[in-house]
């Protein structure tokens, strides 16, 4: 038994930690593209913003899609609620609220991440320092994850935390895939062909999968393979199927512990069944965009249902 407010704090703490890291990864992918490109990189940066879901708010503030502007907006700007700094701050505020539910190690790692990033992101980032800042962000979130997995009891506290992590992660992956595909795939006839385009790597890079992809598929980037990897691969820790495997598992633990099943259980299981039965061919035949849009909608619905069913809305 947990306070509804505590479950809420744990859920959002983990969503925001995931988001903080995701922003760094997106900027990293953008930086990589910009570096490997000879002409203006504004298109790449604009697609990064699109993936982050922040293109509209960005354009209200800036006119140029430059590395400095985008990095500033996605990493530092606390008026952007999804920026790394804003996300880590929200995560810490939630952690502070649920402090009694966290191990000392977990709380300290979040608090230290907040202190370190606050210091590091206090001033605009010099472009030369950007790679090391991105590394530092990823390191801080990795430390949080490490102390969390290493010290937390596997109970309902853990379950609610993981629900936050995987709902956020599934949303991130689906969005990245949706946006990039539109930008990168010139026409449907390209599906299935081998593309010699470094930009494909950016999709994989933005989910930290550019190396592991080659372990599973051949070295060429094929749109179908990339989509298969990010949607259906059971072992790829950021794939939709992977996220739903764990969402279902943690929901089941909660259902068993409390002796009660809710609407969220049915929703999660329905999505999981759909993912397990699906093939990448079927998904492309029916339309990747339509598939992803429906997925994002259902994933959001799941988040709302969890909050309602466990009384933390």
């Amino acid at each position: 038994m947990l306070l509804g407010r505590t479950a809420n704090g744990l859920y959002w703490m983990n969503r925001y930690i995931e988001r903080a890291e995701n922003m760094a990864r997106l900027v990293d992918a953008g930086l990589r593209m910009a570096l490997t490109r000879t002409q203006s990189a504004s298109e790449e940066w604009s697609s990064v913003l699109l993936s982050a879901g922040s293109d509209v708010t960005f354009s209200q503030k800036y006119s140029d899609y430059t590395a400095a502007n985008v990095a500033d907006f996605l990493l530092r700007d606390t008026s952007n609620p999804s920026s790394t700094m804003a996300a880590i701050e929200t995560a810490r505020n939630n952690a502070r609220m649920v402090r009694t539910a966290l191990t000392r190690e977990t709380w300290e790692s979040i608090n230290e991440a907040w202190m370190a990033l606050k210091r590091m992101l206090a001033k605009p980032i010099d472009e030369r320092d950007l790679p090391s800042v991105l590394d530092a962000i990823k390191r801080e979130t990795a430390l949080i994850r490490g102390s969390f997995y290493g010290t937390m009891l596997r109970n309902e506290i853990f379950d609610f935390s993981q629900l936050g992590t995987y709902v956020e992660r599934a949303d991130n992956t689906a969005r990245i895939l949706d946006v990039k595909y539109y930008v990168l795939l010139p026409s449907i006839s390209w599906v299935g062909s081998t593309l010699d385009n470094y930009q494909w790597e950016s999709i994989l890079r933005s989910v930290s999968a550019h190396r592991s992809y080659r372990w599973v598929y051949d070295a060429d980037y094929k749109p179908t393979n990339i989509a298969d990897y990010l949607i259906l691969n059971v072992r790829m820790p950021r794939s939709l199927t992977f996220c739903y495997r764990f969402l279902c598992e943690h929901l089941k633990f909660l259902g068993d512990d409390y002796g009660e099943r809710h609407a969220c259980h049915a929703t999660a299981e329905k999505t999981q069944t759909m993912l397990r039965a699906g093939s990448i061919k079927d998904i492309f035949d029916a339309g990747l965009h339509e598939f992803l849009a429906a997925f994002i909608r259902d994933n959001t619905k799941l988040g709302n249902e969890i909050a309602q069913d466990y009384r933390f809305n």
């Binding site: 038994m1 947990l2 509804g4 505590t6 402090r99 009694t100 709380w107 202190m115 409390y258 009384r311």
Partner: protein
């Protein structure tokens, strides 16, 4: 102005005092550079664990550390025994006074305390008249602020009978000292304070409502994570292994207070509240309060929940009541107070007011309902202009003020850039009341870090020290 103060480690007349002898030997063997390093380590530890407090009205420094000094304040076993006898007596009297004030009011009938002091006091809650809290305890957790002025003279500066704070610093200070100087604790036998959370939990469980079935469910009620003492609320809930709740988590369900959990509403039997009386129940007190629980007072009156400390205990630590504590102690315990009061002038009395106005530059003047070192005047440290301005306020509403002589509080050394230097200190031991009275050996030593300053409050630049009671 500098007062000749009694130094607890090295008094000018008699040389190094016994309780400090083992520590002094150790200290002399230490490399000063290493000590400075340890000082910085301590600050890192505090910042990392997030032991901060909020200072109201300061936007920038919304989370600040209370400075910690690594030189312990040491009290001998004998000194401690004397103190505890005095504290126990005082705490008994406080509870008896509260019970009396909300029932027969015999002390008023006997004319020992003026009736208007109670009747017109905002801290007196008419809603509590005739209500007897579970187990008959009103003030469960008390912090008694004690000052020392010589080898043998201890005085009570004030009683904190509502929601005394700072106990988490007592615990974290010890934890930090043990991390920094493990070898010291091998050499010197210091009585432990670590079990305070367990004692608190047992103490709260012992005063559960009569009808509680099985083990009572205990919760700590906090105003929320933006409150200045939130760290402490979370810390205590955590250490006791109980829920930390906010008003929004609670509601009255079937005549009981219940918290909203992931499995529905669950009954609470004992609520350790860190929310002021006036915010506790919007149906009874401030209607705009979002921090409390609508209807909790009805549950309380029905005997279905223990609220610690009980609503209305503020009447016992009111500064105007304080001046009557010697009479109160004698009235209820039949004996003279073991721990004395600081002589106090009540400005509501014309003769006293006249004296205070004439001697304003020598006195400490406090608001009757104030706390945290706000709204007070330290005459000797104030400019002429400040004194004059304060005198005007005083004349406008004399009953709002009390005055006390400026005492030369004892000093303890702190570590500065230039080595050890004496600073004024006070002491807040923590007392738990259930079917018995327990005092953890130690407490919070607050220290005025500014040279010569007598104000130890953390909101006014005070720091803290670990407090050792020797097992000798």
């Amino acid at each position: 102005m500098r007062l000749a103060a009694f130094d607890e480690m090295l008094p000018e007349v008699s040389g190094l005092r016994r309780p400090y002898s083992a520590y002094d030997r150790w200290l002399k063997e230490q490399d000063p550079a290493r000590l400075t390093e340890k000082m910085q380590d301590a600050e890192r530890v505090f910042r990392k664990t997030g032991i901060t407090f909020a200072v109201y009205g300061e936007q920038e420094a919304s989370e600040r550390l209370i400075p910690f000094d690594i030189v312990p304040r040491i009290i001998s076993g004998n000194e401690w025994r004397r103190l505890t006898q005095g504290i126990e007596q005082r705490v008994q009297a406080l509870n008896a006074f509260l019970d009396d004030i909300y029932h027969r009011q015999e002390i008023l009938r006997a004319g020992r305390v003026p009736t208007e002091l109670i009747a017109r006091n905002e801290a007196f809650l008419p809603e509590m008249i005739g209500v007897r809290p579970p187990a008959g305890v009103y003030t469960h957790i008390i912090g008694v602020d004690i000052v020392r002025i010589s080898e043998d003279e201890f005085y009570v500066l004030e009683d904190n009978a509502r929601t005394p704070s700072g106990v988490s610093y007592m615990l974290e200070n010890r934890e930090t000292m043990m991390q920094l100087f493990p070898e010291l604790f091998q050499k010197i036998k210091v009585r432990p304070v670590e079990n305070y959370p367990q004692l608190l939990r047992q103490s709260l469980a012992a005063v559960r409502p009569q009808g509680t079935k099985g083990a009572p469910t205990i919760a700590v009620l906090t105003p929320g994570s933006y409150n200045s003492a939130y760290f402490e609320h979370a810390f205590l809930a955590d250490q006791m292994g109980v829920q930390l709740v906010e008003g929004q988590d609670l509601r009255v369900v079937d005549g009981h207070v219940a918290m909203r959990t992931t499995e529905g509403y669950k009954q609470i039997d004992v609520l350790y509240r860190r929310v002021d009386d006036s915010f506790l129940d919007p149906l009874t007190f401030r209607p705009d309060s979002a921090l409390g629980v609508p209807g909790i007072m009805d549950v309380y009156r029905a005997g279905n929940i223990t609220i610690a400390n009980a609503p209305g205990t503020g009447i016992a630590d009111d500064k105007a009541i304080y001046s009557y504590m010697p009479e109160i102690v004698e009235f209820y315990t039949g004996r003279k107070a073991i721990l004395g009061n600081i002589p106090t002038w009540r400005c509501s009395e014309p003769d006293s007011l006249k004296y205070v106005l004439e001697h304003i530059h020598e006195l400490v003047i406090k608001e009757v309902h104030g706390s945290g070192g706000y709204g007070m005047l330290v005459g000797p440290a104030a400019t002429k202009k400040e004194c004059e301005a304060f005198a005007k306020k005083l004349q406008a509403k004399p009953s709002n003020y009390i005055a006390q002589p400026t005492l030369a509080l004892s000093t303890c050394p702190i570590l500065t850039d230039k080595g050890l230097a004496p600073r004024h200190v006070d002491l807040r031991p923590y007392v738990l009341v259930s079917d018995r009275i327990q005092i953890v050996p130690g407490g919070l030593t607050r220290v005025a870090l500014k040279e010569g300053s007598l104000v130890v409050n953390s909101s006014q630049g005070g720091g803290t020290k670990d407090t050792w009671v020797l097992d000798d």
